[in-house]
Amino acid sequence: MSTVLDRIDEKSQARPPRMQKARRRKPGRARLYVIALVVCAMYLVPMLYVVGVSLGGPTASGGALFSDGVHPENFLNAFQSADFALYFANSTIVTVVSSACQVALSCMAGYALARINFRGRGLVMGGLIALLVVPPEVIMVPLFIILTKFPLLGGNDILGAGGGGLLNTYFGLMVPHLASALGVFLMRQFYIDLPDELGQAARLDGAGEFRIFWQVYTPLAFPAVAVVAVLAFQGAWNDFLWPLIMTRSNDMQTLQLGLTVFFQQDSTQWNLLMAAVLIISIPVVVLFLFGQRYFQSGIVAGSDK
């Protein structure tokens, strides 16, 4: 187990720096640091500015952020001035459930495609690779109609008429994020590199196929699971167009939607808006930083397809 993890870590981290060359080119180093600092400033200055606005008074502008003093209570006020607690709960439910489902389905299918030679494997693999490029926006409108006319759900009759189907339900919000071709593909790429011997040994010990999948190989796949989980989480948490068309009432809105409404309603204060922006970004940024070392190797693996 440790060997596999070590290998991934090695891949994910920068290769040992080319020290020799670096020493030879000493005069250029200072210039490199200046450029690097400029690049970082392009990112840090706007981010810190937003933090500044979120702590300032309602009339902050241009250079004068704290002319009305510092207001940490903005964060509490922002959270209360719209139904953010409710939106937070909605986003959390939709994101956690759909990510969990996506991870589980990706593991199962990825494992089978990598390690089991069943009939139709080539077809499934080809289909998945073709679907990797389908833009989610393309299928929004038809998927919306399919889900609202889904037979026998949400008051619909057997022909799919009469009710709202999955419109305005948690399940409806989750649907596009329940599975993804990319997730399956990434898991397959990972499982395929694991040694055959583990499975053979377990089989000799009398383990069934599902146990080999679940107890032998999947625990080794944690780095890939982390990548798929972060991608799924980000996709669902940050989604905007789908919740925009799939919700009908405020109590089903997600954070991204609630934030847009907060922005568009008359007379919102910029400081509260920026506080809200920071609050809703924290979970996904933290998750990103947490999963960064796996993630970077994951997206690179994805680029090899």
């Binding site: 670096a22 606005v53 499934v124 490029v133 393309v138 596009p176 329940l178 167009l241 960064q292």
Partner: protein, 300 residues
């Protein structure tokens, strides 16, 4: 078929099918069936309320004759191409920078990488403030330097480039990381050999790094481009497609057609065309990668 090994084989195959079926079923429901349905709706007149009526290629004929569609297509292409061409160059330069051993390099990479975690809604709101002509810091700084206020989001010529720069700012970190990995995978021996042969840094960059990175660069270019072709949220939040139609994209037209004009036929035909464009682009990617992988010494 009675030997124990083939029994185990069959068990294994059955397990394989069982494991793959749920994912395939869900993907069928959320990708393939909607694609087929979109194709069907694009050949009908349908307002979501009354039953769809078959109209053949009428929707496409109308679309091709519709100025607003071409405008949206041009805007989308302008946004995607502009962002990606500039973006790939900048991402490559930043990746080259971070491939050097810098103190605090990991922290600096993370800083560039963070915005990519935030949603487009969040990024758009932040930049709406930064771009604001009256209270935004960018114009405050410009005015301080004696430069006239720039109306980033309300000037027809600035609006799309502004959204482009913002999107580039957000996406840079992601693609930079991929390029960085590509650069680090180039065998040091090649670089050193070139060095011994007397190639300077620029020559090494153009004669070693770029050729070795070809297929990674192509991947980055196409992936970024395909993502940018789907732009909607930034326009919806920042400009609502304006001023005039300067930031109305194909997906925005699709949304308008479907949900304010109740014209599912038109919306679906835009979806189908967008899909075909994406398929074409990714076929080009495959083709390109095949060509390049034959030329390369090792796969990056």
């Amino acid at each position: 078929m009675a030997s124990p090994s083939s029994l185990a084989e069959r068990k294994m195959r059955r397990a394989g099918v069982a494991l793959v079926t749920p994912a395939v079923a869900v993907i069928l429901l959320i990708s393939i069936i909607p694609l087929i349905v979109a194709g069907y709706f694009s050949l009908t007149k349908f307002d979501m309320i009354n039953k769809p009526q078959w109209v053949g290629l009428e929707n496409y004929r109308r679309l091709f004759g519709d100025e607003a569609f071409w405008e949206a297509a041009t805007n989308t292409f302008y946004f995607a191409f502009g962002q990606v061409v500039v973006g790939v160059v900048v991402a490559l330069m930043v990746a080259m920078l971070f491939s050097q051993a810098l103190k605090g390099g990991a922290a600096m990479r993370t800083v560039v990488y963070i915005p990519q975690a935030a949603s487009y809604v969040v990024i758009s709101l932040i930049w709406t403030f930064l771009f604001d002509p009256a209270i935004g810091p960018i114009n405050a700084a410009l005015n301080g330097l004696g430069i006239d206020t720039i109306y980033f989001l309300t000037d027809q010529n600035w609006a799309m480039p502004s959204i482009m720069v913002m999107s580039l700012w957000r996406n840079l970190g992601y693609f930079m990381v991929i390029l960085l990995a590509g650069i680090q995978a180039i065998p040091t021996s090649i670089n050193e050999a070139a060095h011994v042969d007397g190639a300077n840094a620029f020559q090494r960059f153009f004669l070693v790094t770029i050729p070795q990175l070809k297929s990674t660069l192509l991947f980055v270019f196409v992936t970024w481009f395909l993502g940018a072709m789907q732009m909607f949220t930034q326009s919806y939040v920042m400009t609502q497609g304006g001023p005039i139609n300067a930031t109305r994209t194909l997906v925005y037209r699709m949304y308008d057609s479907a949900f304010t004009e109740l014209n599912i036929g038109a919306a679906s035909s835009i979806a189908v065309l967008l899909f075909l464009a994406v398929v074409l682009a990714s076929l080009l990617l495959k083709l390109g990668q095949k060509l390049f992988s034959r030329q390369e010494l090792s796969t990056p």
